[in-house]
Amino acid sequence: MSVGLTPTEQVILNMGPQHPSTHGVLRLKLTLEGEVIVGCDPVIGYLHRGMEKIAENRTYAQFIPYTDRLDYLSSASNNEAFVLAVERIASIEVPPRAQYLRVILLELNRIASHLVFVATFANDLAATTAFLYGFREREVIMDLFEMWTGARLTQSWIRIGGVGSDLPEGFEKKAHEFCRMLGPRLAEYDELLTGNRIFRARTEGVGLLPPEAGIDYACSGPTLRGSGVPFDLRRAEPYEVYSRLGFDVVTDEACDCMGRYRVRMEEMRQSVHIIEQCLDQLPQGEVLAKVPRALRPAAGEAYGRVESPRGEFACYVVSDGGTSPLRVRLRAPSFYHMAALPEMVRGWKIGDVVAILGSLDIVLGEIDR
């Protein structure tokens, strides 16, 4: 009797649209040969709300709350990209204090988003304790947002010309407390997760993204930096006051799930550093420039790029001089990362898809728009 490889029939497996590890409504059409993935076709659009079309029928200021609903884990980044583009077309000068407040809001958003990443990523890989830890720390940030903006998630606090309001009484003290608290907590995560043998076995060497492929697919953010490419828009094209702040662009040469995880962990520490600098340097003054209520920017176009927690979030706004934009294009980083997923999962098994997809930290709200 000869023992050889048994030819296997290809099987199509639908992962999602309702699947706890797809982080929203995503369907992956996987082609399997035995247990091994030979093809992957992501089916997206379940959350499509026609945001770009809606924008053409709203005034500039009216569209800001819509942007919150794109990447809902870091709504400030979305506000910022849209507002940056509009301010460029309309040549609006933002008061210095407002610029610092924006950075504080953006970086708190980044930490909150990365904490959700660590929590859900760990949970996907069956480390439930880390899930609870992540959400515990994030809750403090949510309280800070609520205190300042009245909202926890969809703040719409970055407005054309500045921010919605100045910091409330006691905010700075609480923010400092949070910054002091987070470092030791992240050290706990490291003990619990980063060196954990199971966690390492699931993530090290899994889902490789070579740097050239990452650039070719227009990947950005921690996904690209986890492949060793030091591309960070806060450095490459500084907006607001980032050029005055000291922080490291975190990269990792591993190109795998672990590399992307480590980049985000270190970025939280850098964000804490940025927030502390902003609180120390915060100048006095106005927080909102005088902007006409019915804004009619001159005809023209601008591209506002922001380093969101996921990567390059950009708004391409075209104006014809009217009160509504002629065209708003929303460039979402997760969309590009999802396009690279089929190549990253090929040759791995279903359990690894969970790890690889989790390591990209996608948000379907911005993919489907």
Binding site: E52, Y316, L326
Partner: protein, 141 residues
């Protein structure tokens, strides 16, 4: 960069101007793939975005290629008719062009010739019409 492009592609470059860190180039569709490859070879390796703009009177597809070395953007646009438009696909130059081209097809109806897998991406397969055209109302189904 503008001089290089004009020297290499001559008549195919309809207009070119430098605005801040953006090199805005308008070209004939026939030269699209060659110009994109030319840019990629000169460091514009990151295909940040592909989209279209319909102003109501004319339509153009806009490609934004970014250089990670000097931070310059090559913003390449090609005019297309508003119905039955087609352009050569640049998926042979940038793998990342696959999905954005599908999206432009899905929402504007531009067909990309030699795209490996041109299907709708955000809307359902049986959707009628292209919602981001100024002529297409949101009620189109």
């Amino acid at each position: 960069m503008i001089e290089h492009l004009k020297a290499h592609f001559g008549e195919d470059i309809e207009s070119a101007e430098q605005v801040g860190r953006e090199v805005r180039v308008r070209l004939r569709p026939a030269a699209l793939v060659a110009v994109c490859r030319f840019c990629k070879e000169r460091g514009y390796r990151y295909p940040a975005d592909i989209t279209a703009v319909d102003t109501g009177s004319e339509m153009r597809v806009v490609y934004r290629l970014v250089s990670l070395d000097n931070g310059e953007h090559a913003v390449i646009s090609a005019g297309v008719p508003r119905s039955g438009a087609s352009l050569p696909s640049i998926t042979g130059v940038f793998r990342g062009a696959d999905w954005p081209e599908r999206e432009v097809y899905d929402l504007f109806g531009v067909r990309f010739v030699s795209h490996p897998d041109l299907r709708r991406i955000l809307l359902t397969d049986d959707w009628q019409g292209f919602p981001l055209l100024k002529t297409g109302s949101v009620q189109d189904r």
